[in-house]
Amino acid sequence: MTTPGNLRRVDDTIWELPRSHRKGMRVPARIYGTEKLIRAMDDTVFEQVANVATLPGITDYAFCMPDGHSGYGFPIGGVAAMDPEEGVISPGGIGFDINCGMRLVRTNLTRQEVAPHLKRLVDRLFDRVPAGVGKSGLLKVSRQQFKKVVEQGAPWCVREGLGWEEDLELTEEGGCMAGADAAAVSERAVDRGFNQIGTLGSGNHYLEIQVADRVFDPERARAFGISEPGQVVVMFHCGSRGFGHQVATDYLQSFLEVMEPKYRIPVLDRELACAPFSSPEGSAYFRAMNCAINMAFANRQVILHRVRNVFAEVFGRSAEDLGMHLVYDVCHNTAKLEEHHVRGRSTRLLVHRKGSTRAFGPGMAGVPARYRAVGQPVIIGGSMETGSYLLAGVEGGQQTFFSTAHGSGRTMSRTRARKTWRGQSLRDDLERRGIYIRTASFKGLAEEAGGAYKSIDDVVEATELAGLSRRVVRFAPMGNVKG
C-alpha cells in the first residue's frame, strides 16, 4: 500500500494529514498505528478519514484507530466528535450494524475442567444461539412488544427474567440509551428485527469459549474478575441485526435527499450522507439509532442468558455457582452525546465511533462503580484463530475523546480469503490445534481465517504505545460458534 506523500509522523504511533491534504478539510486527520500498521493500511482509509475531516462541526481531528481499514463513509476505526449545535450526525460514522459490540462473560472454570465438555458446550451453544443467514431467534415477541424492547433495551430483558440485575450495571449505558423513540423507526425495520432477538448473525460475528493465556496487568485483571491464566471466559460479537441495518438504510436515503438541497452540505461520498444534528432529520435519526442501540443491547442480553443456561445444563450446576458474571458489554458502532474537555473547557460533543470502542479512563463518570478506580474494560475481538484481548481505558485516552480500537482489522478481502482457504479444511486444521468450531457456513468460515486479519497483538500494542488503552489479559480460543 502507498501512504499519502504529506502524511507526517507526529509521534511513534500518531500520523497526521494536514488540512491542506484536500480541499474542504476543517481539521487535520490523525491516524494511529505503528509504522508497520500504517504502511499496511489500504489507500481508502486515508481518503475516507480526510473526507470525515470536512464534516460540519468536527472538533479537533478526524481520527482513525490502529485497526483501521476501508469502510463506507467513515473508515472502520473512524472517530469524529461533532459540536451538537453546529455539527452533523452521519449514519456513515456509525455503520449499518448500529451498536455492533462485544460481551465478555467470566466463569470460575479452568481449561482442564472445560476441555472434556467442549464439544457438547459448542454444539449446544450452536443450537441455542441461532446463527447464519435468515435465522430467527428463539424468543418470540409481538411487534408491539418489540417496540418496547427497542425503547427499553437490556432492562426489558432482565425484567422478563432473561438476565441478572447486575448485568445492567456492567453494560455500557446500563444497556439502555435514553431518547430512543420507536415512532422514528419504519415498519420495515420492525419487520426485519422483531424475530431476531437472541441471534448472532454472520460475517465476522461469533461466540467463542476462550481461555486467559496471558495476564499483562494483574491488578486490573483481578478487578475485572480474571484471577489467573487458565480461567475460561465466553466472548461474543454481534449487533442490532436486520433492525439496525434497516434504520441505517432508511436514514442514509432520507439524508441524501436533504443534505445538499436543504442544508448546503456538499456530498463527497454518498455513504457520508449527513444532516445537522439539530435538524428534524438529524433528530429523527438519533432517536431511531438509539432504538437500534437498545435492540443490540437486548440481543446480547438474551444471548448471555442462553450462554448461562447452556453452561448450567452441561455442568449440572447453576450459572451463579459457575461464577458466570458479565465482565462488561461494549459498543463499537455508535454516536453518543458525551462531555469532554476541549481546550480546557468541558464541552458536550456528539462522538461518532465506527469500529472504535469507548475507553473511559479511571475516575470517569460512566465507568461502573466497581471498575472506576481502574478504568473501563474494553473488549477487543480477534480472529477465531489468533486470540482476543481485554484492555482498560486510561487517562491518555482524552486525546481521542476516549476512543480506542475494536478488533484486528482485515488485510485480505473475503473473496481472496475464500480462494486461499477452504472452510472444511480450516475447521479440521483448527480442530487438530484444539479449537472446536461449529459454523452455519463453511464459505463464511474461510472468509474469517486468521490470516485474513492484521495481527491483533500489533493492534493492541499500538493502542498502548499511543496511550489510548492498556493491555490487561489476552485470551486464546477454545471453541467457536460462527454465523
Binding site: R188, G201, K443
Partner: protein, 143 residues
Amino acid sequence: MPYAFLDDLAPADVAFRAWGSDPGELFRAAADATANVMVEELDSVRERERRHVTHARDSLDMLLFDLLQELIYFKDAAGLLLRVTHLTVAEHAGTWRLEADLAGEAVDPERHLLGVDVKAVTLHRFELRATADGWEAQVVLDV
C-alpha cells in the same frame, strides 16, 4: 454467469459487477449475485413462495438499489431466499419504474449451502452505466 465477484474493492465485505444487454437483464443478474452471497447454489432454491414488488425512482441506479434491498428485506422479515422470475424496468417522463415477481423458499440449512448474511446494499462505489455492449453495475454489499 452475468456477474463476477471482485477481489479487492471492499476488503471487509462483498463487491460484484453485473452485466446485461438491457436494464432488466442487468437487474436480474445483480439480484442473482446478491442472492448468491447468501446461498452458494442458486439452483437449490425452489419456487415455493412468491412476492411482487414495485418501485419508482428518478434514477435507474437507485431503482436497482431498491430491488436488491427487497431481497435483503424478505430474507430477514420472512426468512426467504428469492430470485427474480419476471421483471420489467421502464422509463416514462423522467421516472424509472420497476415491477418484479420474485420466487423462492424459506432458508433451509439442510438443503441450502449457505453463505453470509447480507446486511445492506451500500452506495460505496455504487455505479450503474450504459456501455458499448449494454449495461453494467458495480455493487458493494455490507455483510
